[in-house]
């Protein structure tokens, strides 16, 4: 009982994930600043932002429904915290696992997007409604390529259990190179899920103020931002576990730095992609995702099926 509580609250639960999320947010912002030849924020900036938001007053619009308004950030945070439990970090099994958990994982990562939509819709402010509608529209664009890319790797490993997938690839490391197109597609689709430039259309600051989060302030906004940061880590860990799982099963004093290095590599790629592109318009994004990303993911699935059928027997 105590052990379960320890796993849920401390490691790899709330405290571990929150601290790691502050560190990765700092790394992301510092890299983004250095790419732009600026100095960037100091080390404790994300923690300072969180504490400042927590100390401010929550303002709830009169026309909105307070119960749903307050519940959405908690739902988003809960979904991503639960998703983390199934991902293998530096060993070949996560905290818990069962057959089919990779599908559950992907759906748990979709829940935050739905909470953004509901949060924006129930805010009843014009800008929030437009942002909410854009979030759901964007969901139709990046979700299918992301699912296809992650499941292509699962098809090659012949299992729907994340622990088995990680074990399969760490036994045959050269197959990681086969999955490179899927990694490319997953990185770009992740930009859409995490709502970063070039796909930060729902939160486009210069067009609709703050999109879905326009009416949020104080503790609720702090929880939403914490949820987004933890979602970044969960998505990066998922990518690291499914697409670059090598060196698992080594002793922990080697495995932990390797895991952190993999996450930081994914964050580096995300920060670089964030700084070199301009924002897409929603119709351009649909066109791009369905004409460029989806075919590449589809090609990856066919390739994996061929390799599984003929090479691996």
């Amino acid at each position: 009982m105590v052990e379960t509580l320890f796993y849920i609250l401390v490691f790899p639960g709330f405290v571990f994930l929150s601290s790691l999320s502050f560190i990765t947010e700092f790394v992301d912002r510092k890299l983004y600043a250095r790419f732009q030849n600026r100095a960037g924020p100091p080390f404790i900036q994300p923690l300072a932002d969180f504490l400042k938001l927590v100390g401010k007053e929550d303002v709830i619009p009169e026309d909105s429904s307070p119960a749903i308004f307050k519940f959405m950030p908690i739902l988003a945070l809960t979904a991503v915290l639960t998703a983390f439990a199934y991902i293998p970090l530096w060993t070949t099994h996560g905290l818990a696992s069962f057959q089919g958990d990779i599908i559950v994982l992907l759906y748990l990562l979709t829940i935050p997007t739905l909470t953004f939509f509901l949060a924006g819709w129930y805010s009843t402010s014009l800008y929030a409604k437009i942002g909410a509608v854009r979030t759901i529209t964007q969901l139709f664009a990046y979700e299918v390529p992301l699912f296809m890319a992650v499941l292509a790797c699962a098809i090659l490993a012949d299992s729907w259990k994340t622990a088995d997938i990680a074990a399969f690839y760490s036994a045959k490391p050269w197959l990681i190179l086969v999955n490179l197109p899927a990694m490319f597609v997953a990185l770009i689709a992740l930009l859409g899920k995490l709502e970063r430039v070039p796909f930060d259309i729902p939160e486009a600051e210069t067009e609709i103020v703050a999109g879905t989060f326009t009416e949020y302030s104080g503790r609720l906004l702090a929880l939403f931002r914490l949820g987004i940061n933890i979602e970044t880590i969960v998505a990066a860990s998922l990518l690291a576990a499914v697409m670059i799982p090598f060196g698992l099963g080594l002793p922990w004093w080697f495995g932990v730095p390797l895991y952190l290095a993999k996450i930081l590599f994914v964050i580096f790629c995300l920060a670089l992609l964030r700084s070199v592109f301009a924002r897409f318009r929603i119709d351009q994004m649909m066109r791009f995702c369905w004409t460029v990303l989806a075919p590449i993911a589809f090609f990856q699935i066919i390739l994996n099926l061929i390799i599984k059928g003929f090479v691996l027997k």
Binding site: N37, T206, E207
Partner: protein, 407 residues
């Protein structure tokens, strides 16, 4: 679900740098129609000019706008010098033109950064504003301040330039030219940027002429108007440069026009530095300007700036009127936003390089009895009534000003 939504963009909005109101009627993401309201930045500068001497007015006119401050100051001074019939020394005019071209460089680099920010390309903004620092440092060494240069005086300029400062100007121009070439390559090769700028804010050439667009907005639609070529003032008659026009008719064309104008400005700065004559920097100007009136045109970075000054033989002008370029361009925005998308609104408005501080001058109130003009006293009484209805009594404010005006 064909309900139309009216979304107010402004007066406070992250897309706008200054307050203005655009009411957009949307259907989904498509803009059906738009109405524009300006006037939030009216400060009564034209009236304040009538109460101050010409020497004090120079600084007041300069502060109409931060980015094109030298434009307004020079346009005003040129009108006053024309009324007074002064003979201008060559070196003074060369220094004035040098500062004018440096200001054009700084304004276009600023616009490039703002355009990048409006489409979500923050990296471009940071790099162009870093390069703008080179120009700001040059201007600070030449004139003593980074904005609001204050280098004009009636009859010429206030400060002289030394040989070292001119060498620094040449070196800075060299660096900026290489960087601008990189930005021209980036603007023509980066597909995410091109797809946001092309095809939006389309303004056909006949619409540009009918709606009275000026500056880079008109030149990007193929209309070849430039006050430096048509009505050369200062030393533009002695300089060689090209008039840049483009045929794209959209925001991408405006970006190309501004980038190529930057290259022309570097050419002009080099010519100014090598050809600068020696001599005095200012002519002796009288304190009382004789009666007369004059109009002066100036090509500001945003377009054509027109100033009208009427003097009556005293130390203070009788009437000053300012027509800023944004007032001419803003009427074209409604045409450009037709059938566009909501996501295009920020970049279309930013492409005309709006400066609402320049735009807001006299107010005309339309009442049920027909259009009329309110004088200061009536405006003041009306505002005191308005606040009294809401429980505040402000009739004791500014009694000294009322007694000084005496009307």
């Amino acid at each position: 679900m064909a309900k139309n939504v009216v979304i107010p963009v402004g007066p406070q909005h992250p897309a706008l740098k200054e307050p203005a109101n655009f009411s957009l009627t949307l259907q989904g993401e498509k803009i059906l129609e738009s109405t524009i309201r300006v006037g939030y930045n009216h400060r009564g500068i034209e009236k304040a000019c009538e109460e101050r001497t010409y020497v004090q007015d120079m600084y007041l006119i300069e502060r109409i706008c931060g980015i094109c401050s030298h434009s307004h100051s020079t346009a005003f001074i040129q009108a006053v010098e024309e009324i007074a019939g002064l003979e201008m020394p060559g070196r003074g005019l060369y220094i004035r033109t040098l500062v004018a071209e440096l200001e054009r460089v700084h304004s276009h680099l600023l616009w490039l950064g703002v355009a990048g920010h409006e489409v979500g390309f923050d990296t471009l903004m940071m790099y162009t504003w870093r390069d703008r620092e080179i120009v700001m440092d040059l201007l600070q060494v030449l004139t003593g301040n980074r904005v609001n240069y204050g280098i004009n005086t009636i009859g010429g300029v206030r400060r002289d330039v030394t040989k070292e400062q001119l060498d620094d100007v040449m070196k800075g121009t060299q660096t900026l030219e290489e960087r601008t070439k990189y930005y021209i390559e980036l603007a023509t090769q980066e597909p995410t940027l091109i797809q946001r700028l092309s095809g939006v804010g389309v303004l056909k050439p006949e619409d540009a002429v009918n709606l009275g667009a000026v500056g880079p907005v008109a030149r990007a639609s193929g209309v070849a108007r430039d006050a430096r070529k048509e009505d050369p003032y200062a030393v533009y008659a002695d300089l060689e440069f090209n008039l840049i026009t483009d045929n794209h008719n959209d925001v991408f064309g405006r970006a190309v026009v501004r980038l190529l104008e930057l290259m022309e400005s570097y050419k002009m700065i080099r010519q100014l530095v090598t050809k600068m004559p020696d001599g005095p920097i200012a002519a002796k100007a009288p304190r009382k300007i004789p009666a007369g009136e004059a109009i002066s045109r100036y090509e500001a970075p945003r377009g054509e700036d027109v100033h009208y000054v009427k003097a009556n033989g005293t130390e203070k002008p009788e009437r000053v009127k300012v027509r800023a370029p944004t007032l001419a361009n803003i009427q074209a925005v409604t045409k450009m936003l037709e059938n566009g998308q909501l996501a295009d609104m920020p970049i279309v408005v930013a492409a005309i390089d709006p400066c609402f501080s320049c735009t807001d001058r006299a107010i005309e109130i339309v009442s049920p009895d027909g259009p009329g003009i309110l004088v200061w006293k009536d405006l003041r009484e009306w505002s005191i009534e308005w606040y009294k209805e809401r429980g505040l009594d402000l009739s004791g404010l500014n009694k000294k000003l009322i007694s000084r005006l005496g009307r």
